[in-house]
């Protein structure tokens, strides 16, 4: 029963979201190759971090020689969204029949792709099977991510720079489009605008700290703006 739910999860990971994931991880692999990152880091980061924005931040900052502490803070902060995501998925997957430690393993499965699907599909399944389902879903997605990243890495190595440029552009163009079309609230729109302007500007000032500062300054500015706008409205 548990293994059936796991298999259902794996099967459902090979759909449209899996295809998009593959494209972005092919891009990540290509980007990592062009940045001189070893292939084992591409594989290990996909399994252990399992969050493309965080992986991009790590690879990009390491490449420009940012201090380790700046990379740690930036990656940790970009992935802070996993706290509310895990908190909200827990009531969906929790079942008394399972020991508590299972959920600390399942937490590693929480990423944007599997979280969205699990929040929607989870309630349709028997409570006991949901953890296994999430595990299967994440296992499928992670396998797709690892294979795609390695494929992207070696394709980038073997094709001429004219083609390689498009592959390196896959992940950035994905985020640009995804972030623009996924804007649901004014808050997110303001945060994207503030960060999008602050990022390049701060890069001119301090390349090594720009990602961290863009998030911190741009995000805080957006938060303050939203509060101010909210007050004048309400």
């Amino acid at each position: 029963m548990q293994s059936a739910a796991f298999r259902t999860g794996v099967r459902e990971s090979f759909g449209v979201p899996g295809g998009v994931l593959a494209a972005t991880y092919i891009g990540f692999g290509a980007l990592a190759f062009s940045g001189g990152i070893p292939v084992w880091v591409v594989i290990a980061s996909t399994i252990t971090i399992w969050a493309l924005p965080g992986q991009l931040v790590m690879v990009d900052m390491w490449q420009i020689g940012a201090p380790t502490i700046a990379i740690l803070l930036a990656v940790t902060l970009t992935n802070a969204r996993f706290l509310p995501m895990t908190v909200t998925v827990m009531p969906v997957i929790r079942d008394r029949g399972h020991p508590e430690w299972i959920y600390y393993v399942a937490a590693q499965c929480v990423a944007m792709s599997s979280w969205i699907i699990c929040m929607r599909r989870g309630p349709e399944l028997p409570a006991r099977e949901r953890v296994a389902y999430l595990g299967g879903l994440a296992a499928g997605f992670i396998a797709i991510g690892v294979v795609a990243a390695v494929v992207g890495y070696y394709i980038a190595e073997s094709i001429p720079p004219v083609m390689q440029i498009g592959m390196v552009f896959l992940a950035p163009v994905y985020f640009i489009i995804f972030l623009i079309v996924e804007v649901r609230t004014r808050l997110v729109a303001i945060a994207l605008a503030c960060g999008g302007i602050a990022g390049p500007l701060l890069y001119l000032l301090t390349p090594q700290w720009s990602v961290l500062l863009a998030g911190f300054i741009g995000g805080t500015l957006a938060y303050a703006l939203q509060r101010k706008l909210g007050r004048t409205r309400g």
Partner: protein, 116 residues
Amino acid sequence: MRCSESWAARVADIGLVLLLSALGTYLWRGLGVLLSGRIAVNGEFFTWVTCVTYAMIAGLVMRIVVMPSGLLATSLTWHRLLACALGLAAYYAFRRNLLLAVTVGAGSLIVLNYLR
């Protein structure tokens, strides 16, 4: 750049960065399990966290598009911006297909850069 360092130093360096990044990421996931049912996720703190997360990702990708390093830097800025716009247009033109949109975006940069 860190090219001047030895191979072993590079491996140790990125290994440490990777380990810390993975731990920093798991911190939130583990805390999420621990705190589920005990904290409200729609409070002010999480609103701020959302802002910081979006701003950081937007800041990084905008910088990569506007001021790239490495291979992307050999393409023209307006080509990269146009490629993004074409990808976005494809998204809305073809029933919100993200996979197609990304392919069009990356593909048009190859074509624009080739035709230069």
